[in-house]
């Protein structure tokens, strides 16, 4: 331990002998680690937004369906358990959030035009805050109960259909016997969505109203449940599995949407690649600095060896010097990255490329997300790889022949 203190002191002093070189290298490390962490925060934020938007559109962390529903989302493939029975069980289970809904393809017709949409028969109270609909941002009003006779459609769809609040539209779908099931609705509200495609894709009606229209009694198409964290849905998944029988399919969000699921994995891999690439770009300068530092100290290293300092202590001294340099750089870089994130925490507006972001499945506000584990990852990767990069110059220094080294000019 005593030896370590001496080596550390030597390393520290050596570091500042050529302060210009140290400062330039430090600047490079600071910039590199800043870029690593800042970029990681932006990307994380981007992916989190995509996944959250995706989950609010699915919606939920875990969904229950008829086994055939996902390939054939029709009224023929309803969950075989009556809704009241299922609701009673779920209400008693104390889940954070859950709702069951009817979800069928339908055609919406105004006096001017018609479009294909997905009709959602929902329980508005249960779903509050769980889906992409913000109840307070509705023009007009949102649905008030499962028996609400009105319908809420997207603002974009309303424009296409040339309809507005208070006007009537007709929804056409089919009942389980393949008879046309239709009903007139009065438009009571218009919703806005982050992803504009949703405004054309979904229309909302009361669950009971929809069940009556489709003549499906007390049955629903899907049930979804929400847990605390989208990254860890195991608890919710097993809870839901216990509440339903074997005759249904229970899937988590990353199985339901392969794009979202892989996105998370690919991003984790990509961030590691990014950190390593930056490190490699830095490593050339780092090794260079150490090679030079060793080179100009050949004579004193020879002297120390001749005086009886063990080679492994020389090795240690160089490595400590390198790690000190890296640590200072990393601390400053991390701090700057943290500072850089602060003013944009509330979101950066990237709406100039809004439709492009739409295409990537993102909204036009970007929220950086600085995760502790990403900061640790970047720092640990740099320190560990930095250690290995310093081995070669340090090894050379430790294995000088004392006499040759001392006499070297």
């Amino acid at each position: 331990m005593h030896m370590f203190a001496i080596l550390a002191r030597l390393a520290w002093r050596n570091l500042w002998r050529n302060h210009r070189r140290t400062f330039i290298m430090l600047a490079a490390i600071v910039l590199g680690s800043w870029a690593m962490i800042f970029m990681t925060a932006l990307m994380r934020g981007m992916v989190t937004e995509v996944i959250k938007d995706g989950i609010s559109a699915l919606p939920g962390h875990v969904q229950v369906h008829h086994p055939k529903y996902r390939d054939d989302p029709s009224v023929a493939n309803l969950i075989p358990i009556p809704d009241s029975e299922m609701s009673a069980k779920f209400a008693a289970a104390g889940l954070k959030g859950w709702a069951s809904r009817v979800r069928v393809p339908a055609v919406i017709t105004s006096e001017y035009d018609s479009r294909g949409v997905t009709l959602l028969g929902i329980d508005p109270e249960r779903e509050r805050g769980l889906t992409f609909i913000d109840y307070d941002e509705i023009d007009g009003r949102f649905l008030e109960s499962v028996d609400d006779p009105g319908i809420v459609i997207g603002r974009k769809l309303a424009r296409t259909l040339e309809t507005e609040i208070g006007k009537r539209i007709v929804i056409m779908s089919q009942d389980p016997d393949n008879e046309i099931a239709d009903r007139g609705f009065r438009v009571v509200g218009l919703f806005t969505a982050n992803v504009t495609a949703f405004e054309e894709a979904f229309v909302f009606a009361g669950k009971s109203t929809t069940q009556k229209m489709l003549r499906i009694g007390d049955r629903t198409s899907e049930l979804f449940a929400v847990g605390d964290d989208y990254r860890n849905v195991d608890a919710v998944y097993s809870q839901v599995t216990e509440l339903v029988d074997a005759g249904v399919e229970v899937k988590s969000w990353f199985e339901l949407d392969a794009y979202l699921g892989t996105m998370l994995k690919v991003m984790d891999g990509f961030l590691l690649v990014w950190v390593i690439v930056i490190f490699l770009a830095l490593s050339f300068g780092l090794v260079n600095t150490l090679v030079m530092a060793v080179f100009e100290r050949v004579r004193e290293i020879g002297l120390m060896l001749a005086l009886g300092m063990k080679p492994r202590n020389i090795l240690g001294q160089i490595i400590i010097e390198s790690l000190m340099l890296l640590t200072i750089g990393l601390v400053i870089g991390t701090a700057l990255a943290w500072l850089a994130v602060q003013p944009i925490k509330e979101g950066i507006d990237v709406s100039i490329v809004a439709e492009g972001m739409d295409m990537w499945g993102m909204s036009s506000v970007l929220y950086p997300e600085l995760l502790l584990r990403d900061v640790i990852l970047a720092n640990v990767v740099v320190l560990v790889l930095g250690f290995f990069a310093s081995l070669s110059p340090a090894w050379r220094a430790a294995h000088y022949e004392p006499v040759e080294a001392i006499t070297k000019v």
Binding site: M39, P73, S74, P105, L280, G285, V287
Partner: protein
């Protein structure tokens, strides 16, 4: 000049390790830049091509407002006649007329609301890949045959196969009830289930009869031979439009505004990363050149005392840097070209990329593009920054006093 060059060359190899480490940093980032930029632009081209080729085409003639609202009555009169006269005038077959409407398609068991496109069977294949994606049966033929081609996912959901009949229900241009019975003659498969589920194609004349279009349609789709020829095509088409009719000519960017923006969003994050990489290399060069100038203070003092001007010394340092930069550029470009060319032939895959790629109509393997711009852009910027970062050490020489410098050890 020859002498100065030889001097510079020898100076570089005084510390061959240092020179190689600095050059190594350049080579590393050059190879990475060539590969990444090649990959990026290869991907963008594919994204554009694959998105536009399926249905959109490069240029479309539409009625004003149709692009945003897509209403039935925003139509182009005598659309087939317009397309045929454009084919003659332009001397190109890559022109096809279309009509578009929404309809409820019903089989024995199921009904779905989808878009129904009326197409010219003999020309559609020139502007769209759908006729080529027929996996079962054939494309519609005969201008007014009661035939339909549908996507594989839709066929599965409708539980229908070749030769069976579908009922189409919709509303005509005048708002009246439109209905027809058609036979499924072909099934296409684009690989994206949601896309395949969203539309079906019937012959244009049949479409016009069914929806009471009176010879009108909604778009004339044109493709250029290359994406760069689009502005020229758009201009010529605009000139050829019949006088007195209100029509507009949109290019692909107007038709798919998300595409360019998605590319722009991706580009800006990529350029941020490249920028960091280049600056890190610049730091590496700055460090090396500053060191090399500082350790030569003594000898620079002597040559200054002998009458050499600081300006010439500065040019010597810049020449050294330029030689080093040139080495990095040439070796980097060579290795980068080899790597990119190899992957350009064999393709490159990243685990999990398949699902992400499918969302943007991209194949699972990527083939980076190797052109002169993608090859040279990165290395030239690196070279520029290399020279830039040597300016400080070179200019520092002007502050050197011969006598003091000679005293320096």
């Amino acid at each position: 000049m020859n002498l100065v060059f030889r001097l510079a060359w020898r100076n570089l190899w005084r510390h061959s390790k240092r020179t190689w480490l600095t050059t190594g940093a350049m080579i590393f980032s050059n190879v990475l830049l060539i590969f990444m930029i090649g990959l990026q632009f290869g991907m963008y081209d594919l994204m554009i091509d694959n998105t536009l080729q399926t249905l959109t085409g490069h240029v479309q003639i539409q009625a004003p407002g149709y692009k945003d609202d897509q209403k039935m009555r925003q139509s182009v009169a005598d659309v087939a006649g317009l397309a045929s006269s454009l084919r003659t005038e332009l001397g190109s077959d890559r022109v096809a007329a279309r009509g578009a409407a929404f309809a409820l398609v019903s089989s024995e068991d199921r009904s779905y609301g989808i878009a129904v496109l009326g197409v010219e069977p003999e020309y559609e294949g020139n502007v769209s890949t759908i006729p080529g994606l027929i996996k079962e049966g054939r494309f519609v033929n005969g201008p007014d045959a009661a035939e339909i081609v549908i996507g594989a996912a839709l066929a599965r959901n409708l539980r229908i196969g070749l030769g069976q009949e579908l009922t189409l229900l919709g509303s005509g241009r005048d708002g009246s009830f439109a209905a027809a019975v058609v036979t499924v003659v072909g099934i296409f498969d684009s690989g994206v289930a949601d896309f395949d589920r969203s539309f079906a194609e019937i012959p244009l004349r049949f479409f016009q009869d069914m929806f009471y279009m009176d010879g009108a349609g909604h778009q004339v789709v044109l493709t250029a031979t290359a994406i760069d020829d689009v502005p020229e095509l758009q201009r010529r088409v605009a000139e050829l439009l019949p006088a007195g009719e209100e029509l507009v000519v949109h290019d692909w960017d107007a038709l798919q505004p998300g595409l360019k923006q998605a590319i722009r969003a991706d580009m800006s994050s990529a350029f941020f990363m490249y920028g960091i990489l280049v600056i890190l290399v610049a730091f590496s060069v700055l460090n090396t050149q500053l060191m090399s100038v500082l350790e030569r203070t003594h000898e620079f003092g002597i040559v200054l005392a002998l009458g050499l001007t600081p300006g010439r010394l500065g040019r010597l340092v810049l020449l050294e840097t330029a030689i080093m930069g040139m080495l990095g550029l040439l070796i980097g470009a060579l290795l980068g070209a080899i790597l990119t060319a190899y992957l350009g032939v064999n393709g490159f895959a990243y685990p999990g990329m398949e699902e992400l790629a499918a969302k943007f109509n991209l194949p699972a393997r990527f083939f980076p593009e190797l052109t002169l711009p993608t090859l040279l852009a990165g290395p030239l910027v690196v070279f520029g920054f290399t020279i830039l970062s040597a300016l400080y050490p070179a200019l520092r020489l002007h502050r050197l006093h011969p006598v003091e410098a000679m005293r320096a050890v």
